[in-house]
Symmetry: C2
Subunit: 221 residues, 2 copies
DNA sequence: CTTTGTGAAAAACTTCACAGCG
DNA sequence: CGCTGTGAAGTTTTTCACAAAG
């Protein structure tokens, strides 16, 4: 079975977690895994795990279950972990520098190919394996390189201008860590990372369990 | 209208973003806002924004719209931003230290009250406004303090043990930044932060738009 | 005119029920 | 048996359609 074109968003959210679990199991030497085992990490039924797996385009073996390495590899292919998306990072502050040195990005198929800032004092400095470049040189840097993603780690007040700049240069996807909501043309994808979302979900759970302290399923993501 | 007890998860995800947008608008001095303006930041219809607002327990004025400051305040109350949840942070590595110094947590109603690590070399050192304490002293620290949340910023291999420890000490909610999936009793809430989720959603959008390069709505969060 | 609020319809997501396979 | 795979049923979330109000 081939992966479908339109994937349910909730499924898409679970898939990276499956990958994480399977990587652990693979490292531990486990060969097979069942949908009901995987479902224990989430707030869902084992049937849902099987639907998710079928969306990924993988098939298990009845009675046996899924091959840990086979499914992990299928997820890696599905997510494009082997394809290596390329990205430029704009904003070489604390968070930006941390991301440059974070090996997790490469593990999930994202390779940073250039780091840019507008601060004269930072240009020329090294962060991780990169030399910080002048944002003014971004147009010529991007020309013909096929970079699809821009990571924005700029201060809030600079975020919309930075977004407009990179969108004007042909970037199709924005991964923003700035604490503000960007407005971009409809054909550009944006994801805003915001710790407050996680905190809100968590404190809501907490409030609910204080009001009604009875059994509830495992939380996730 | 009072807030309802069971809130749709998707609504809960959007609410912190509303708060962010409204804070910006308030700082700019804007007084009123419409549901259709807010909906432009998300992949949803303006009707959905109105439903979300009604879940929060706020009411707008027909023709006029919502009061920016009134709605922002209602969201702050709803999220418990003024209530101040307290948390202990376990694992004073790079990420843990960064979180200790991150003002955004306080803005969203979370106050870290203690920082713990098991590494002898770290115990006694200062991070942000905290002195790193010996994890062995956590039981007496927590006793009677009513701390509900533990932030886990420990290495992967230590994560499950740390989770078991704090759950045993009465913690009801875990906010884990360790790259592994924790298993905890059903009555404990867990949220796993994982950048790969954001990356997966983004690169899926990118892949989709490459296959079928036609109009699509703004993406969010 | 707008813009909110809400019941009804539609769509999306999850679970149920059970077929099929080793 | 125990497990996957899948159409049908059930539940949740979103959109539609329109009443009400300034």
């Amino acid at each position: 079975m081939r992966p479908k074109e339109s994937i349910p968003e909730q499924t898409l959210r679970r898939i990276p977690h499956y990958h994480q679990i399977l990587s652990d199991l693979e490292a531990q030497g486990q060969k097979l895994i069942s949908s009901s085992y995987l479902s224990r990490f989430f707030r869902v039924h084992d049937t849902q795990v099987r639907k998710d797996v079928s969306v990924i385009g993988y098939r298990g073996r009845p009675k046996a279950g899924y091959s840990v390495s086979g499914l992990r590899q299928a997820i890696a292919d599905f997510l494009g972990i082997n394809l290596q998306n390329t990205a430029v990072l704009v904003g070489a502050g604390k968070l930006g520098s941390a991301l440059c040195g974070y090996s997790g990005l490469a593990e999930y198929g994202l390779r940073i190919v250039g780091v840019f800032d507008s601060d004269r004092a930072k240009i020329g400095l090294e962060v991780a394996a990169f030399t910080i470049q002048d944002i003014a040189t971004l147009p010529q840097f991007l020309a013909g390189r096929g970079v699809g993603i821009a990571i924005l780690t700029v201060p809030k007040d600079a975020a919309q201008a930075a977004a407009d700049l990179v969108v004007g240069l042909g970037i199709r996807a924005l991964w923003s860590f700035a604490p503000t909501q960007l407005v971009v043309p409809a054909e550009v994808s944006v994801r805003h990372e915001n710790l407050a979302v996680g905190l809100a979900l968590l404190s809501h759970d907490l409030k609910k369990s204080q009001q009604a302290p009875r059994e509830q399923p495992n939380a996730c993501s």
